[in-house]
Symmetry: C2
Subunit: 236 residues, 2 copies
């Protein structure tokens, strides 16, 4: 697979075409953003670390039968992924109250949810990625009800697999964001990345944040947190 033209420059990744229409190349950047792009910065070495973390976690998922876009790492910052058209819906999975959920429902950060919360957000920067529900998705034609059900089922499986895996390295999976894509043959698979940019990881004992919230909230020790997650994952 040979790298070709830049298809898309995102906030934290570049996406390149390859000489094979079934594959693309992701290049992870050090840029970090928060609050729908209002806050911008860099986390030194993040691109390299996130490339490795997402590769590890996508491999864990594949091993457990979850279909993902991941193919292989090809350099420090780059990985080959399957070409997909991204579904315009983010799926958020929440085990513990934090972030926008805490604010929306008035729940203290860290409150265990009595059952897993699943949220859909409409991927639309101008609208601020608003929370939507199944009937919005169907009325807007963003996906069919069957596609949503499949995405929800995959999201639940991922929550089970990753929570168990992270528990072994003393990390609690507080919440995470998933993106899905449709391959050329129409199959829905997990796309994008699974990293401290897209998950909340808390140390199981100290409850210390090991994710992008350190950047969002100016807590310091951002690089160290990303490294800590990577180091623990390597010990798996």
């Amino acid at each position: 697979v040979e790298k070709r033209e830049l298809l898309y420059e995102g906030k934290t990744k570049q996406v390149f075409a390859t000489d094979n229409q079934n594959f693309r190349i992701f290049a992870f950047k050090d840029e970090a953003t928060a609050f729908n792009g209002l806050k911008k910065g860099k986390i030194s070495g993040k691109g390299v670390i996130n490339n490795k973390i997402s590769s590890i976690l996508m491999r864990v998922l594949e091993r457990e039968g979850v279909p993902t876009h991941f193919v292989k790492e090809i350099s420090d910052r780059e990985q080959i992924v399957k070409a997909v058209s991204i579904m315009p819906i983010e799926v958020l999975v929440r085990n513990v109250a934090a972030g926008t959920l805490s604010k929306r429902l008035g729940l203290p950060e860290g409150a265990k949810l009595s059952s897993t919360v699943y949220e859909y957000c409409y991927k639309n920067n101008d609208l601020g990625d608003p929370l939507i529900n199944t009937s919005h998705v169907v009325a807007l034609g963003l996906a069919t009800e069957e596609e949503l059900k499949l995405m929800l089922k995959i999201a639940g499986k991922i929550n089970d697999v990753l929570s168990a895996c992270l528990k072994k390295i003393n990390v609690d999976l507080i919440d995470f964001k998933l993106e899905f894509g449709k391959t050329i043959d129409g199959t829905i698979i997990v796309a994008d990345e699974i990293t401290p940019d897209t998950c909340r990881f808390w140390d199981s004992v100290t409850r210390s944040k090991l994710d992008i919230d350190r950047f969002r909230k100016d807590l310091g020790g951002v690089e160290e947190a990303y490294n800590e997650i990577f180091n623990r994952l390597q010990s798996l």
Copy 2:
């Protein structure tokens, strides 16, 4: 049934106890509010008109087999209703884009939705009655999934019944808000009111607004709009 002490003073209604614990008395006020109580005013005669409109529409629903709290009108501003504990979830039903849906999804006001949109909002003034979904409802313990399904089914039936009824008087039912309550024996029934305060009614031909949006948006002719709806309903 005799009126007893004031149980609750809401933005637009007073709720009184009666000498029978199964019944309460609603007294409709002329006060109007918008934007979660930020805008306040009076619509002269609204209390009388809304008492009559809600009575007519609740009777239409009862006739079609929808269980409601309505018992009978007893004066210009008052009606007897069944005593319920109000469910902490508002159900919004939308046929055409308007209001917060237009804003949330970037849809022009008046755009026909390709399928009916159902929304749940958590009744919590401090949080601004946020949009929530089934998994939030369950995690917060606001209702069971079965109760939600029943509420949704009733909401769909009400949409069918009221849309058809209003069509006869040249009114389009754009969207509406429902509240549900549990009776002493645990049955879920429609509560609160169904009026131009809680529905968007548009003239089918001119698309003129015949509801609280005239107050919200300072369009003038507010009293006339409420009267117009009442007059047309009387011709049914």
